[in-house]
């Protein structure tokens, strides 16, 4: 052997550095894989290991082993290794790559893994253009589980679950994943290669390296589909199996480049740098200065406040906001508070309500089934909640007169067209704040400063704050008039 040939032989046969020195998968065979003779995985492993060597990325590489015959890829690759659930490697790879953008994430999947159970994950990872590399080994069969049909099984091909051969009518046509993914805008590089002869293998090695190199350059999603022999399950001698890849499989799955945007692709912009740790409470708004200073008002606490309020009306009447301003004001005044909205189908069908509690001692249940004040902004609310009002309690009703069926002698009822009242000061939509004004007059305990602060906290637009302040004053005066009339 000449020295040049010797060198070539060494280059071709030597063990890539990205492989471990010895393989412990099979204890008795330290330098052999667990793969069957003639299996394509060993060849693909070697070209991938060599690409990792050549690109100098061994320390940065994280290989995701799939479920299938290559589940034990981590026994061979001396890189960071993560083993994933069947079909989920693209999602796992997304989770790794997004948090560790300096790493080189390589997903290694078979055809059952990628094209059947993991069809959603590969489609969406490709569509997002994740900066990962996927090696898709297609042998047209589920091998590890003993030869069942895969989405890529050829028409007419027999498997244990298509004993008479796959038919288009019953199982559908073989799924062309590379062509399917090539319809997406994001992938940078998609090529199908084969292991059918040495020429094909040489092309496959080039494609694998390119797919990894694209990631090193930060270009985005690359996938290489490798048509690969499975002599054991195909029940063929290795050489015949290899030729079957070239002579038969390739007719269904033509080789070639389906996407190549490597020239026009640019590395993605780096994500924003993380802020300093000390900055985080400010960004989240959880610093002391973002929170309300809770006034310690012993006088208020001594009053044994125990307000159970239910606010109800149509969506859009500001029911939830009314409750929120009340709760916020209560908290500002040093009371215990809770605010609980109705949510979901009730909102969609147009009604809305919330439970608000203000108390001088810790609040047990935030649910208000028996309010001492019911704010009913429409008649359906009255119908739903008025019977539950505690004796001695109040109903504030948004209507000129109370329908007779809701009359009760053991509670006080202020019925008024609050929407019209709000209209007189500029906007009928301020009815909720007129009613809140009346409620505050009844409750009588909250300092004006807390109410002002709460309004400014909950209502962001200045034009509304002015209107709402006037609405609160109006509500208070309407309530006072009512009380005076009652007294007279």
């Amino acid at each position: 052997m000449s020295s040049a040939m010797d060198l070539e032989y060494t280059a071709a046969q030597s063990k890539p550095k990205a492989f471990y020195e010895s393989f412990e998968r099979k204890e008795e065979l330290r330098h052999q894989t667990h793969y069957c003779p003639g299996c394509g995985h060993g060849i693909v492993h070697k070209m991938l290991a060599r690409a990792i060597d050549e690109l100098g990325i061994q320390d940065r590489t994280i290989l995701i082993s799939p479920v299938g015959c290559s589940v034990f890829a981590y026994y061979y690759f001396d890189v960071g290794n993560v083993q994933a659930a069947h079909g989920r490697a693209p999602a796992v790879g997304t989770g790794i790559q997004r948090s560790r953008p300096g790493s080189i994430v390589i997903g290694y999947q078979g055809d059952g893994d990628l094209s059947a159970i993991g069809s959603a994950e590969i489609l969406h990872a490709a569509n997002r253009g994740e900066n990962i590399t996927v090696i898709f080994v297609n042998n047209a069969i589920y091998s590890m589980t003993g030869g069942q049909m895969a989405p890529t099984t050829l028409l007419g091909q027999k498997s244990t679950t298509t004993p008479d051969g796959r038919t288009a009518e019953h199982e559908g046509h073989p799924l062309h994943m590379s062509e399917l993914l090539a319809t997406l805008s994001a992938p940078v590089y998609i090529e199908r290669v084969g292991l059918g002869d040495n020429k094909q293998i040489a092309q496959a090695a080039r494609a694998v390296k390119r797919a990894v190199e694209n990631q090193v350059r930060g270009l985005g999603f690359s996938l290489v589909e490798v048509l690969s022999p499975c002599p054991t399950i195909w029940k063929m001698p290795p050489v015949e199996a290899q030729h079957w890849v070239r002579d038969v499989m390739e007719k269904t799955f033509p080789l070639g480049v389906f996407v190549d945007r490597t020239k026009e692709s640019r590395p993605r912009a780096a994500t924003n740098a993380a802020p300093a740790l000390e900055e985080i409470p400010r960004i989240l708004g959880t610093r002391d200065e973002d929170a309300d200073a809770i006034d310690d008002v012993p006088a208020l606490r001594a009053q044994e406040v125990d307000l159970h309020v239910r606010v109800s009306g149509f969506g859009g009447q500001g029911v939830l906001l009314l409750g929120e301003v009340l709760a916020e004001a209560g908290m500002d005044a040093g009371l215990e508070v809770s605010w609980l909205p109705s949510y979901g189908p009730e909102i969609r069908s147009g009604t809305s309500n919330c439970h608000v509690r203000l108390a001088s001692s810790p609040i047990d249940s935030p649910l208000v089934t028996h309010p001492n004040v019911l704010v009913a902004m429409n008649e359906p609310s009255l119908k739903k909640f008025s019977a539950g009002v505690r004796p001695g309690g109040w109903i504030l009703y948004n209507g000129a007169t109370l329908p007779a069926e809701y009359e009760r002698q053991d509670i006080r009822i202020l019925a008024r067209d609050f929407t019209r009242e709000a209209d007189t000061i500029g906007d009928p939509r301020a009815a909720n704040m007129v009613m809140l004004g009346a409620l505050l007059e009844i409750a009588g305990t909250l300092p004006q400063a807390s109410i002002d602060a709460a309004l400014r906290h909950c209502v962001k637009q200045p034009k509304w704050i002015d209107l709402d302040e006037r609405a609160l004053v109006l509500g208070r005066s309407l309530c006072k008039q009512f009380l005076e009339r009652g007294a007279a």
């Binding site: 320390d59 994280i62 981590y74 001396d78 890189v79 960071g80 290794n81 993560v82 083993q83 994933a84 659930a85 989920r88 999602a91 796992v92 997304t94 989770g95 790794i96 790559q97 997004r98 948090s99 560790r100 300096g102 790493s103 080189i104 959603a120 994950e121 489609l123 969406h124 740098a273 993380a274 802020p275 740790l277 000390e278 985080i280 409470p281 960004i283 989240l284 708004g285 959880t286 929170a291 309300d292 200073a293 809770i294 916020e328 908290m331 215990e336 508070v337 809770s338 605010w339 609980l340 909205p341 949510y343 979901g344 189908p345 609040i363 047990d364 249940s365 935030p366 649910l367 089934t369």
Partner: protein
């Protein structure tokens, strides 16, 4: 004192980021969507990753990836979404990967409805995925606990290298209460076992496969030893007038709040009633129950489900005391009046020593 009025769902996200969480992968579902939305808003601003996944299956596997890479990570979902995540939760438990999952429960089975139920107890507490594993389950009953238990969840997840579920209902998620956060943010740290794409971490492997029978049995035994440590060290419960109570009410989450109101009212009417509120559902606070059995004559479990926690209470008491159950479903909430009526009925049956006038109006 300084506090903020905030929804439980928002408090979870802020607490998570303050606890060093830097990755959130989720899929929208009522009533947990505010968590995902708040994460979308805050994660990118705080140096974290947010991504809306194509499904809950993908979301939990993205957590598998982020956690493998040594990042504190979380997701949020509800009943049907948690069902889809069970595969990934089993893999994470098997591979001993920490993560935090907020389950803001809704009604089931199937599409059920979006109102509050507590019917995810079985699938979360008993480990709804395949294999021999547990998730640690924390059950907040206030917005402050949403924040506090989120911080605890990240600590426990890392301490035991195990998924932790924050099991809350739609009420606690949607409710606003005053909340106080820690002053300082926790710095993210890279665990020694992570696969982070570095020379130091190159030798690491994250995997849940143990092909040999003995090998897998040894792994399961190791997990079991870990769960025994969790059961020894981590049970938590709130004892609310329960010490010495003859009738012990039992409920978690929003039901715990209702039962506090019932307890107050029952005690005011002279009945010796208390509340034991499990805060950890796994590990179940069995010792708390056994201690209260000395004086407690009957334990009354109240749930917004068909009684999924009852078996755990029975096991904890091991037959020494009767266990009664009151449940509502479909989004209906047990009112404190119906619980009180049951308490009075049970007082008659189990506490004959009570004064006749106290029972006269029962």
């Amino acid at each position: 004192m300084r506090k903020q009025l905030m929804k439980g769902n928002e408090a979870i996200v802020k607490s998570a980021i303050l606890s060093g969480c830097r990755a959130f992968y989720g899929y929208p579902i009522t009533p947990a969507s505010e968590i995902t939305e708040a994460a979308a808003f805050y994660m990118p601003k705080t140096g974290g990753v947010f991504l809306q996944a194509e499904s809950e299956v993908a979301a939990i596997n993205m957590l598998y990836g982020a956690s493998s890479a040594g990042v504190r990570c979380m997701t949020a979902s509800s009943g049907p979404g948690i069902s889809l995540m069970q595969e990934g939760i089993s893999y994470m438990a098997g591979a001993e990967l920490p993560c935090v999952i907020a389950d803001i429960t809704r009604g089931g089975p199937g599409l059920g409805n979006i109102a509050s139920e507590q019917s995810d107890y079985h699938q979360v507490v008993k480990g709804g995925g395949h294999g021999n594993y547990h998730t640690i389950v924390l059950a907040p009953h206030s917005v402050q606990e949403m924040a506090d238990l989120t911080a605890l969840a990240f600590e426990l997840a890392d301490k035991y290298r195990n998924p932790v579920v924050l099991l809350a209902d739609g009420f606690i998620g949607q409710m606003m209460e005053p909340v106080e956060f820690p002053k300082r943010a926790v710095a993210p740290r890279l665990p020694h076992w992570a696969v982070a794409g570095t020379a130091d971490s190159r030798g690491n492997l994250i995997s849940s496969i143990h092909l040999g029978c003995d090998e897998l049995e040894a792994h399961v035994c190791n997990l079991e030893a870990k769960y025994r440590r969790v059961e020894r060290n981590e049970p938590r419960a709130e004892d609310w007038y329960a010490n010495g109570a003859e009738i012990v009410l039992v409920g978690y989450g929003i039901v715990g709040r209702i039962l506090k109101a019932v307890t107050a009212e029952a005690r005011a009417s002279g009945l010796n009633v208390g509340l034991l509120r499990p805060i950890t559902l796994y590990p179940f606070p069995s010792l708390h129950f056994q201690r209260l059995a000395a004086r407690g004559r009957v334990f009354v479990v109240v749930e917004m489900s068909n009684g999924q926690m009852v078996d755990d209470v029975r096991l904890a008491l091991n037959g020494v005391r009767p266990v009664e159950f009151l449940g509502r479903a479909g989004g209906n909430v047990p009112t404190h009046h119906e619980v009180l009526a049951l308490v009075k009925k049970l007082a008659k049956k189990y506490c004959p020593a009570l004064e006749p006038e106290e029972l006269a109006h029962v």
